[in-house]
């Protein structure tokens, strides 16, 4: 009798222990991201993941890194083989492609409308296609111009309003600093590479001249202004920074994002078109520059131009075939909660997307972010069409490169770009 009851106790205990183990068995959430391959973003993200896993012991995050310029070759490849992770990066230049391929969950089915209303609506709209919210905003990097505060102060310069003033400043800061007869410092780190880093920056400079690379006309059809006077002026100004004014280091077509950060960090250039995320990268490379980097909004063309910025919202899409949408939602919410978002902003400079946090003193009162905060007032969305990436990474970079190398005049390059964009519009 006693033995039987002992056996019962042991069995009961075993079942209880097994049940407990099964109920706390960790779910592994696969997340693909490009920011984790950069520093100091990696350190910040690992800290956030650690905090999340502490709070949620039943969820393990398996983070996979992929460089930004390679991400959108990898994601469709994974999609065709059914190997997409649960959560993966999404940015406005490819969100149209995600919709076209049907590889992003409509997050209105995952998050409440009240929660979605808590985002900066410009930021949310950059990840929305035809009313569907296809990605969860993580951070924004409004474009402006990073500059060396100390060099400006040395020369008694102030941030420019127009591109003409910008050019004067760039000329002033292009000089031979060590007296060996060769210029060793330039005014501007031009990204003229043939990829998203170069193309995305050029598009914003282009728009400050009053034209649009792609826009909807009054009839609701897509048109392009690349071959209008404003468009040609943009091409001319941009390329002449190198070919005529020489305020750019030699070899701008070899300069993509990483190379431009190196130019800033090694005291070779005074200004760079970029977002607040670059501050952390520059200081990581050269800690002596801490406190010496500032920002101002993109200048505008004197005639008919306007200040422009793009929020460049970076977010995460949820795989429609994932069976861990609940866990994914939990993780994405955690990424943008107050603690995580402020830690992220403090370490990387990338700005939060929740409205309340954007207005917080921690963001608004940071002197190095002031220019980007101002730039957000000029934010305009980019088109979310499936062929936008071709315009940004191929058509426009090919155009400005052909002018820089002298293969085409501004008019020829603009005409060719217009032909290619119109062809894309018609095909789609």
């Amino acid at each position: 009798m006693k033995l039987r009851s002992n056996v019962k106790i042991v069995l009961f205990t075993l079942v209880f222990v097994l049940f407990s183990i099964m109920s706390v068995q960790a779910v592994t959430l696969e997340v693909m991201d490009s920011v984790i391959v950069e520093s100091p973003e990696r350190e910040a993200l690992l800290q956030i993941i650690e905090n999340f896993e502490e709070e949620n012991p039943d969820i393990t995050i398996d983070y996979q890194g992929v460089p930004m310029n390679d991400a959108y070759a990898q994601i469709p490849t994974l999609a065709t083989s059914g190997a997409l992770p649960d959560v993966y990066l999404a940015t406005l230049d490819f969100i149209g492609t995600f919709e076209d391929m049907g590889i992003a969950t409509d997050l209105r089915d995952v998050f409440s409308q009240e929660y979605l209303d808590g985002f900066n609506q410009n930021s949310l709209s950059e990840l929305t296609v035809d009313g569907k919210v296809l990605a969860h905003p993580f951070f924004v990097i409004p474009m402006g111009v990073l500059y060396r505060i100390d060099w400006f102060e040395e020369k008694g310069l102030t941030p420019p309003e127009t591109w003409e003033e910008f050019l004067d400043i760039a000329n002033e800061l292009t000089e031979d600093t060590n007296g060996d007869g060769s210029v060793d410092r330039w005014g501007f780190a031009m990204l003229a590479s043939r990829d998203g880093s170069g193309g995305s920056r050029f598009i914003q400079i282009f728009r400050t001249f009053g034209g649009y690379e792609l826009r909807l006309n009054d009839e609701g059809e897509y048109v392009t202004d690349v071959n209008t006077p404003q468009g040609r002026n943009a091409f001319e100004f941009f390329t002449e920074l190198n070919t005529e004014h020489e305020v750019v280091p030699p070899g701008p077509m070899e300069v993509s994002y990483g190379e431009a950060l190196n130019l800033m960090a090694t005291n070779k250039t005074a200004m760079m078109v970029t977002g607040p995320h670059s501050i952390g990268g520059i200081i990581e490379r050269n800690p002596e520059l801490d406190g010496k980097i500032g920002a101002f909004p993109l200048p505008m063309a004197q005639d008919g131009g306007k200040h422009i910025s793009v929020l460049n919202t970076y977010g995460h899409a949820i795989n429609p075939d994932s069976d861990k949408k609940e866990e994914a939602a939990k993780f994405l919410k955690f990424l943008v909660n107050d603690e995580s978002a402020l830690l992220w902003n403090e370490m990387t400079g990338r700005m939060p997307t929740r409205t309340g946090l954007l207005q917080s003193p921690e963001v608004q009162d940071r002197p190095d972010l002031a220019g980007f905060v101002e730039a957000m007032d000029y934010a305009e969305p980019l088109p979310t069409v499936s062929y936008y990436s071709t315009i940004m990474t191929d058509i426009l970079p090919s155009a400005y490169q052909s002018i820089i190398v002298g293969q085409a005049t501004v008019e020829e390059a603009a005409e060719r770009a217009e032909e290619r964009i119109i062809s894309l519009i018609e095909e789609n």
């Binding site: 070759a73 030699p250 070899g251 077509m253 070899e254 190398v405 060719r416």
Partner: protein
Amino acid sequence: MKSLFSLKTEHKYGYIFILPVAAVLGILIIYPLLYGFYISFFQTNLINRWNFVELENYINIFSGNSEFVNSIFVSIKFTSVVVLSHLVLGLLLAVILNKKNLPFKELFRSILMIPWFFPEVVVALLWRWIFNSMYGVFNYLLMNLNIIEDKITWLSSMRGAFFVVVFTAVWKGYPLILVMILAGLQSIPEELYEVAKIDGANSFQTFFYITLPNLRSVLLVSLILDTVWWFKNFPIVWLMTRGGPVNATNVVSIDIYQTAFQSFNFGKASASAVIVFFICLGIAMIYKSMITEEEM
């Protein structure tokens, strides 16, 4: 066709033994080839859009200001220069290394083989930094030797970029040709050279009338393998220039990659790949017609 059961035992086992390799080849080569051919008749993103467009993709790649046609010409130019350079450099070095009285022969052979051991990715990134306009050691050396006054923007000019990718490809690929030609030289009977010497032939005559004819089959094999390999090369050009500046180094493999993974036009990319397949097949058939059964 005889059934497997009616084959002699040794034949049967032969087929059985090659079956696993054939299966792997079928899965890794035949199936993707046929699938690519199939895709080329569709306008597709490979996921949820499959529009049968017949030959429209093939027509589009040759129409208008075709990027693909331009990339074919760039590829032909690139391949011609690289392969010719490999042959000349490989032949020259092989002849030198084949000399009996060359001191430290084994050491030189090892050093000359080094480029072959590096992965193409490493080679591309190394030379890209060596030729970097701002920080590259090549410009630094040229300026210190007073050969140039201003830095040369190697990868930012059309001719410079083409030269650099060709140079890198030549550096990477010559060891294979060197090894093949060296093996061919060592198989030429010594008696032929002795007879030539007795008959009063000089070095040039010996080289053109004995060495080259005996190397014919090796040179042809090297030529064809090298041509097909470099015609479709991707890593070196992509990592160094991404096909730029403008389209200066936009070889056909890069055009196909961009069509597939930047424009997501997989049908058109597959059609381009099919065309490249037939070009490479044509090269192989030219080889077959130039080489006799005995030489094979």
